[in-house]
Symmetry: C2
């Protein structure tokens, strides 16, 4: 039998605290601003939408935040997740590099999203809010919150972007199987939805509209909270359970990482994977933490670091972030989870401070890497995660050229078993790559709010 | 933190031999017969279709068969699989019973089928046959063989029942992502397919037709083998890796099982799970091994133990098996993998010898149990596996009534993430239950071959 393939931790090795990257930053990130007053947002501004425990996690500078036992009890249904040596991929690439991947697709809904859905549902239960609302695009986040809500007996109402509601029936059904209600957005159940439908009866919906509906539904119901699946500090905090496990697993494997890669859309997957390595990065600057984004939505690589809205309608607080402009509508690449104009402020701050770097990839080259991964490692990756695979393949091929035996670790944030129509399109040669002329990017950022 | 939830083995605990149930049987099963001569089938009869190593495994009475290192190297991409304490399900049922499930859905294609696909591909590679052919219905087996073929660089050609080819695009795409060719059956690429199309241009296909096509394609190509995903002795042998892991995991958990349940269609899932417990069953007759089958296809509970063909066209050897008659066409229940008129001869022999028992369930009660499982344990089960869940729930509720704290263990043979259209139908209240009058069963078995 050849070398160990999977590095598995036991439930006892599950981290019992979330890792907070803030104390390690060279400079604290600029605070979110109220869109009306342009003053920093305070806990009271957020209280109608979020339970207080999450608001406190949003602002804490404690180096660690304890994970409640009631959260760990759910997380350990599938955690710790495996770290796998991709030895077949190495062989296929004929590279001297060592490649490892962390596999988050073993969660009940097939991605990393439940890592934050579970604590969000938990704190709502604790603070006596029996109902949660959210939006979802392709459905990864909606399924995760529906799963977590079922665990705590919460009512869960999801507004799913109408075009995805039709195109992704699998995830729609999964949410309902968990007991959630799922409406196509724009819906007739909110003022925001009705207003859109009045103006555009055939609207295919958008994340911006669905966010407005879910926020409105929570705001008018004192028993309800709104939940968000990425971008915010507390969401990234919850995801650090991933990177903390990787720290232990790389020790088990007896290797020191040279390059760590994760795909990046809103930033929670990458942040959760990479932040626990920031202290190491500060000590050992040659360690590279690489955020892999789509060339069709090149937020860090080509966006501007500025205050901007989180949504299209301009209802959210202003966040200091890399942005392509809140009016930027990314082309319909198949990595739907990466189609976001902005970035988690914490990821952006790390990029500005030189702690992480970013690279962008076209979707065809990502699917090509994904198919190679499928044939060699057996798992069909989510189109989002394929960006990290592409990044890893590029680095492994550089090692082949230079003869260096670097250790490359990437996060396989989810599987693609609900995304097979995207693979159909790729295998049929139907996918288009996108490249923006500089003017288009400039144009999209022209209307950034003046702060 | 409450009790341990998952019982995980390491790669070192992976069984290094398959368990052969034959030496433990009270009487050896009757041999397969040649359909022409009615004489027992010999190795030479099978050589055109199967590599010799598999033919030898089909007839061996050795108590264990070594698993080659090259097979273990692939299996440990996902094995050992977890044994999970279903503590949330126990709470929801308010039962004193302890419920555990073995989870085979962590494999690359989401079911137990790769456990035999990998060794089948391995032996073909070893014996210099670079091409494998097979049929598939919903696609579980086709995906598994495609995955295994990719690992060994074999060409893989799958004939997929035409109606499923249209209805299950996800698994069709997954097979192609592994590099397999997938044709809708009946196809124009075989005599068998062309004959059906000539007579019935609109034929939706059937497993019987697809088997004929895959067998023909292998028979006319000396470089090709035909592969089967269930029924045969060597297939069940390969699946015993599941039950052997469960033996160790129950020891880890410090429990002695009272009732073990698996769903049963062709028999490989149940056999692989239950056979390693047959020696224990012989020593301790109160241990119950329960095969859970659909009431719509009640092979063991209502079929006859007799020699019959494995396929509709009568091309296969005659097998001594529980059968509803090879002309029996089960109604279109959503557990497609359980719609088979016959049974693995080894499972049938165990049933005849009182070593296992069988129970049948209607699909609506199975989906009801599956939804309860989804909400409590987070995993959407395959419709097939939901029969084992139903069986476990029934036993747990009996314990609630009697106050007994029995240990119930079932095999969750796969996840249902490719089967969400079935859940849609269930949630919409559209599923029909089937009950056969005795005459219908008698009628179906009227034409059993005279042996």
């Amino acid at each position: 039998m050849s070398e160990t393939r999977k590095f598995l931790l036991t439930e006892k090795d599950l981290p019992n605290a979330w890792f907070n990257v803030k104390p390690h930053l060279l400079e604290q990130p600029s605070p979110p601003l109220h869109p009306g007053t342009l003053q920093p947002v305070g806990p009271d501004d957020l209280a109608p939408l979020f339970p207080m425990a999450l608001i406190m996690q949003e602002v804490t500078t404690d180096p660690y935040v304890d994970i409640p036992g009631g959260v760990l009890d759910i997380l350990r249904m599938w955690r710790p997740t495996p770290l796998v040596r991709a030895s077949n991929l190495e062989k296929a690439l004929d590279t001297p590099a060592k490649i490892f991947f962390k596999y988050e697709g073993v969660s009940p809904v097939g991605s990393h999203k439940p890592n934050t859905a579970v604590p969000q549902a938990y704190y709502n239960k604790q603070e006596g809010r029996p109902r949660v609302t959210t939006e979802t695009g392709a459905g990864q986040w909606g399924c995760s919150l529906a799963m977590a809500a079922a665990q705590f007996g919460l009512e869960c109402d999801v507004w799913m972007v109408k075009v995805s509601y039709g195109q992704k029936p699998g995830r729609r059904t999964l949410m309902r199987s968990f007991g959630a209600s799922v409406q196509a957005s724009p819906s007739t159940s909110t003022n925001a939805g009705r207003a859109v439908l009045a103006a555009h009866p055939d609207s295919p919906g958008s994340l911006g509209i669905a966010i407005s509906e879910a926020v409105e539904a929570a705001a008018v119901d004192p028993n309800a909270s709104y939940c968000l699946g990425s971008v915010l500090d507390h969401v990234l905090l919850h995801q650090t359970i991933v990177g903390q496990e990787v720290v232990k697993q790389l020790e088990m494997a007896g290797v020191v990482p040279d390059i760590m890669l994760g795909c990046v859309g809103g930033g929670s997957n990458f942040g959760g994977f990479a932040f626990p390595f920031i202290p190491e990065k500060i000590k050992r600057p040659e360690l590279r933490l690489v955020a892999c984004e789509p060339a069709a939505c090149p937020t860090i690589t080509r966006g501007k670091y500025a205050y901007d809205f989180g949504d299209l309608a301009g209802l959210t607080p202003l966040l200091k972030t890399h942005t392509l402009g809140s009016q930027f509508v990314p082309p319909p690449v198949h990595a739907g989870g990466l189609r976001y104009h902005g970035m988690a402020p914490l990821v952006s701050a790390c990029a500005e401070q030189g702690l992480i770097e970013a690279a962008s990839f076209q979707q065809n080259e990502c699917f090509e890497a994904a198919i190679l991964f499928t044939k060699t490692e057996g798992i069909l990756p989510a189109p989002e995660s394929s960006h990290a695979i592409r990044g890893a393949v590029v680095e492994a091929l550089k090692c082949k050229e230079s003869g260096e035996s670097k250790t490359i670790v990437f996060n396989l944030s989810g599987h693609g078993y609900f995304d097979t129509s995207s693979y159909d399109a790729y295998l049929a040669g139907e996918l288009v790559d996108y490249e923006y002329p500089e003017e288009a990017i400039d144009e999209a950022m022209r209307d950034l709010p003046q702060v």
